[in-house]
Symmetry: C2
Subunit: 715 residues, 2 copies
């Protein structure tokens, strides 16, 4: 392909003006491309991705195959078997890199429909999805490389391709939607999956590898468009990193304030530790570091000098802190030591990043405490978990199930891990929402960090004891969970206790005929109303922006999720009332202006409680008691969590994951089909019929069951 | 040299047991060695560094020179000329690396007195400082490399060396202290400095290169031993990074709370941006990045994969944020945009790190705002600077001078930089304590980040205007300045408004004869006193620890700087009073228990005011009006800041720095002799006699002076 300049020039010669041309980070998947575009200023408000696929038909060995280039919308299903039938070509398969190099002199990452030029067009069969020409959408097309994108209309795309046509060779239009309904028996999803596995086969620009968890991914992308619209978040030019704008960061500040007060009352003190860890120290605890090493980011250079040894960015601070715990804890009088950090950590995930849920850098608190006895450590683990539950339930109106993690799912290096486990109704998936670990003496042992004191309870006075340690963390994932649980098609729905604007007051009924005096009267009434609420510690705001209609303002604040809207128009003013509109239910009710200082705080509490109850009912309705394996996968497919009597054996958990992943496959390519893992063994076992030892059997393997355990697909 | 194991074995064969043997980070200077040791758990409470120097005498070309190995305490002056005279050797010079390799088969970083073995000892002349043998100190000696240290007594060192002696060859003891007084005319400081410059010459382990600013460095080390003792700070295993323990971090939290309230009232919102910056983005503003690039840390690897392109850790967030400002600011209605971040930034300094003052990672806030007009931006720059002044003066009781930086000293990329400038009496140096920059339109210009809106004040309706931007930052350097200004020989002195414990209550007069009932009565009275103070929002604490004497407790809390101590003994209880002891002045006064709730808050305010006034008087006393060049350097040498009528030309500033650095040299090797730079052009010019345009001349160059400007040595 030619340079960006020459592409622009050749488009210009056809009188095609792209609506934008942008440079961005390298991309190698639809998700990363979309993300890169969202992170780039000056891309169009809305756009669709175009995928360019190259297939090779089966031909006699001596014949030169003519590759088929398919240009379609990203979300259009392009069944190769149906297409082959249509074009009367045998066994279409994705082309190998070699073929691409041969035909286009290009690698797969640099290929797009713009690689079709007067030189290459004659060598291939070009097929375009017929829906593109008539679409009013703006389409994103890679320009000269995977790090540049040109935005064209469907008409422009067709014009460009037609400019390449000769008398002999035309672009073929194919209606892929129709093709799909024509060939329903062909199981194209499975077929394509197999093709994607062909060695040497490549997908071009936008490929078929929609990940097994496409549905969940799609859900998230929709949810996170909402985040952009609501000014919660901005995509960033480094993949997997995000900007938290004030509208979301203020929620984190509310959580920080609340949690700080609680832990300080428990005697925990805040401190700050460096984010750098030397490799020597990081690798001290093998089990622990094995859990993190694939995701550790390394600093190897400063200015223009290479560092003598690479330095890691903390993925978590156990190994950062504990050498100093060993130094500071010299006597049992130095225990308990309870420190907490509010900081940023780095886990360089190679999976799809998701805002708030899976990000390469994130904000959290991490508490690290050392105790004289296990009993004291155990108690704190539970106390902290209870605070996490309360953050979700009392601040974010999100219900949680508390429990303990299986051996397989516990924190790397922990004795045991307790968890607050949430549920996302839209995807039917569980989500680990916060964890409180008892590390036991794993890190304090002499061969590890050697955190040891004389044992005051040893009668000989000679005994030593190693500190019992805990660590516990809660991150900005809290915000993501809140968004996914409460959000709706209008946008965010913020729980009142964390909303930075709890009440928005909007002047209404002002028309061109309204006199200035009346207009001022209404605006003043709104302003006064907001002030009177601020007086009683309600975070209220009057939206007196000129030049915007009430409808625009309603929509704006609904999208941003403000819990309560109060409207004041001339009639309201005459009646000395305001119309209240709840964001969560849409319910409208007039409230007398004189009652507001008493009514509104109560109404906000009602909204909180109703949001919580609604979410709780949804969670409970999707927590299914399952006692037969036959019901297990259908329960998951029904977007539910399966609670089963379980043996708690690690091999059984592996097996359940494997079997539930496999069996889900043929159903629907876009359904979440990853295997189920154990989410939590709930503390409250009384919700389900008692497990009879030796009698109740494990749903996974048929051995004796120990406890009811939640299994589900998860984030 | 042999391995650590074989060294330990050979010491053991001489019945020498090191008090500790530790591994630590690589070191290449006394400061980094000391720091590495302080960061290593299990080093002795106190120790001195041993330096090992190798000199080569001048000999006839045909003769083989016998190197002289000098073993001395780090702070002992070892004049090579005096030593040469003493040993009757000509022209002793520091040995080259080649010579070291030849004699010891070692590089300079791996050399210590333990490199003297039965093989090498006969090849050299060994000289030991006579004060070592008789010292009771524990000495630190590099073992097998610069990343290992053995701690030995003076006696052990001498025993080791004597074990190498033969009948022909003995270790020579030299009294360097006497040597120094014997040869005062030799100007050894200058002499040694020249020697240190000899090409190929090296200093071994601990060398002579005590930096030109030795005195300041020494001051700081002393001050920062205080930080360790007071549980403020811990040295960390990655050089240049430090742990902020709760005793210091709580001060940062107080500053955060106060500052957050003020800026939120100004309409600033907090947010969070990623710490990663792609190199492309980082390098967008050339002037800006030139100021930072030598100190940028680069992530190049994640897990075991190399990144496609290196990613920087933010040294500051201008280039991180402004691409998104361009995206968000579409209309003049989107202005002003005012965001603030509380985060960590990285500047990989290669100079001596100093806790709080110069660290590779540090905590700060950085505010970034965009405005429609310059007038509005200017106003905010001043408003923020005023908040910085108040943080220092009203929270930390540290006086500041506000002013504007010279062109040379302004922030890279700024239009102008305003500063709060502090003064450290102990070193006589100025310290930049916080800066508020107007960036002008440097970053919003079209070729930069293109932050542009239509100009609402343009009558044609067609005009565009680029945003006027500010950035402003205040870091944990605040805490370092506070420590250095108020600390004394007993340790820290904390200003009451930020002290996490403002009042410590200590039970006194309890002896072996005291009955349990009386003991309880006193303890209860202390506890009750603390509680009654907590009731009126005083951060009070009763120290009821068993097994510690009142004297121990007094010392402990004095070291930690608690502003006020209240003692209660049997006599006090009988008189219903408590003895108050002020940390800042030591003043003692009885206070009636009934009056405490009224008296103590007032007394704490008095302490704050007195601390501030004392520091202000010191600052003012060291701010000297200088109108002749002859007085300039002597003023600096007198630990003062010179305020001069100045022309404000950059060349003149360079010249002043050069001349004041040079002229300071011959005075005293350990005096701060770095050149002076401009610290601030104070806003309040009225303090000094009026500058008469065209008449008052610049002290630096004799051209016309513009304004009174503070020049000084600085941190």
């Amino acid at each position: 392909m030619s340079s960006l300049d020459s592409i622009t020039a050749s488009l210009a010669s056809l009188s095609i003006t792209p609506s934008a041309t942008v440079l961005h980070a390298e991309t190698n998947s639809p998700a990363s491309w979309r993300e890169a575009l969202l992170a780039t200023p000056s891309v169009p408000e809305s756009f669709e991705l175009i995928k360019t696929l190259v297939y090779k038909p089966k031909t006699a060995k001596t014949a030169v195959p003519v590759p088929v280039v398919v240009i379609a919308r990203d979300d259009t299903e392009t069944s190769s078997s149906a297409l082959g039938k249509k074009l009367n070509l045998k066994d279409l398969r994705l082309a190998s890199e070699d073929l691409l190099a041969e035909v286009f002199s290009l690698d797969k990452n640099s290929l797009s429909l713009l690689a079709l030029t007067k030189y290459t067009f004659p060598k291939v069969t070009t097929v375009i999805d017929s829906s593109i020409a008539s679409s009013s959408a703006t389409f994103a097309i890679h320009a000269s490389s995977s790090s540049s994108t040109i935005f064209l209309s469907g008409k422009d795309i067709v014009s460009y391709l037609q400019s390449l046509e000769t008398d002999e060779l035309k672009v073929q239009e194919v209606d892929f939607a129709a093709l799909k309904t024509e060939a329903p028996a062909a199981k194209p999803a499975v077929k394509e999956k197999e093709e994607a596995k062909i060695e040497g086969a490549v997908q071009i620009a936008i490929g078929v590898k929609k990940e097994v968890d496409f549905s969940a991914w799609y859900q998230s992308v929709r949810a996170f468009r909402v985040l952009l619209k609501a000014d919660m978040l901005e995509y960033y030019s480094v993949s997997g990193c995000y900007i938290l704008r004030p509208w979301s960061y203020s929620i984190w500040e509310e959580i920080q304030d609340w949690f700080n007060k609680k832990i300080k009352a428990m005697g925990v003190q805040n401190a700050s530790f460096p984010m750098f860890v030397s490799s020597k120290v990081l690798e001290r605890e093998k089990d622990h570091i094995e859990g993190f090493s694939p995701e550790v980011a390394w600093v190897t250079r400063a200015g223009s000098s290479d560092l003598e040894e690479p330095i890691a960015l903390r993925p978590t601070s156990e190994t950062v802190m504990y050498p100093y715990y060993a130094k500071w804890i010299k006597s049992h009088r130095d225990l308990p030591l309870k420190l907490n950090l509010w900081n940023n950590v780095v886990r360089w995930e190679f999976k799809h990043p998701q805002p708030f849920l899976r990000t390469r850098e994130y904000l959290w608190q991490e508490g690290h405490t050392a105790h004289l006895t296990k009993a004291e450590a155990d108690r704190e683990v539970t106390d902290i978990l209870e605070l996490y539950r309360r953050v979700y339930e009392e601040l974010l109106a999100v219900p949680m199930v508390t429990g303990v993690k299986s051996e397989k799912e516990k924190f790397a290096g922990a004795l045991y891990t307790t968890t607050v486990e949430g549920f996302i109704p839209a995807s039917g998936r569980g989500i680990q929402a916060g964890t409180s670990h008892c590390l036991g003496q794993n890190f304090s042992r002499p061969e590890m960090f050697n955190i040891v004191v004389e044992d005051p309870n040893d009668p000989s006075g000679q005994g030593k004891t190693y500190a019992w340690q805990n660590s516990w963390g809660l991150s900005t994932r809290t915000i993501g969970v809140m968004v996914m649980v409460h959000g709706d098609n209008q946008g965010l729905v913020l729980p009142p206790r964390v909303a930075s604007v709890q009440v928005i007051v909007v002047p209404c009924g002002i028309t061109a005929k309204t006199s200035d005096a009346d207009r001022n009267k209404i605006n003043d009434a709104c302003d006064e109303l907001a002030r009177s609420l601020i007086d009683v510690d309600i975070r209220a705001k009057a939206d007196l922006r000129e030049g915007y209609t009430p409808g625009y303002k309603f929509n704006d604040w609904e999208q941003k999720g403000v819990p309560l809207r109060l409207e004041i128009g001339p009639n309201d003013l005459a009646k000395q009332q305001t119309l209240s509109v709840r964001r969560d239910t849409g319910a409208k009710a007039p409230i007398a202006l004189g009652d507001l200082k008493a009514t509104i705080p109560k109404l906000l509490e009602t909204i909180h409680n109703d949001m919580y109850t609604k979410a709780l009912n949804e969670y409970n309705a999707h927590l299914k008691e399952v006692t037969r394996w036959e019901d297990f996968v259908p329960t998951l497919d029904n977007k539910c969590i399966a609670v089963i009597p379980w043996c708690e054996a690690e091999a059984c958990e592996d097996d359940i994951k494997e079997r539930s992943g496999r069996s889900a496959e043929p159903q629907d390519e876009r359904a979440p089909s990853a295997g189920a893992k154990s989410l939590a063994i709930p503390f409250d076992q009384g919700r389900w019929s008692p497990i009879e030892p030796g009698k109740t059997k494990c749903v996974g393997c048929g051995q004796d069951a120990k406890r009811w355990t939640m299994f589900g697909r998860s984030y």
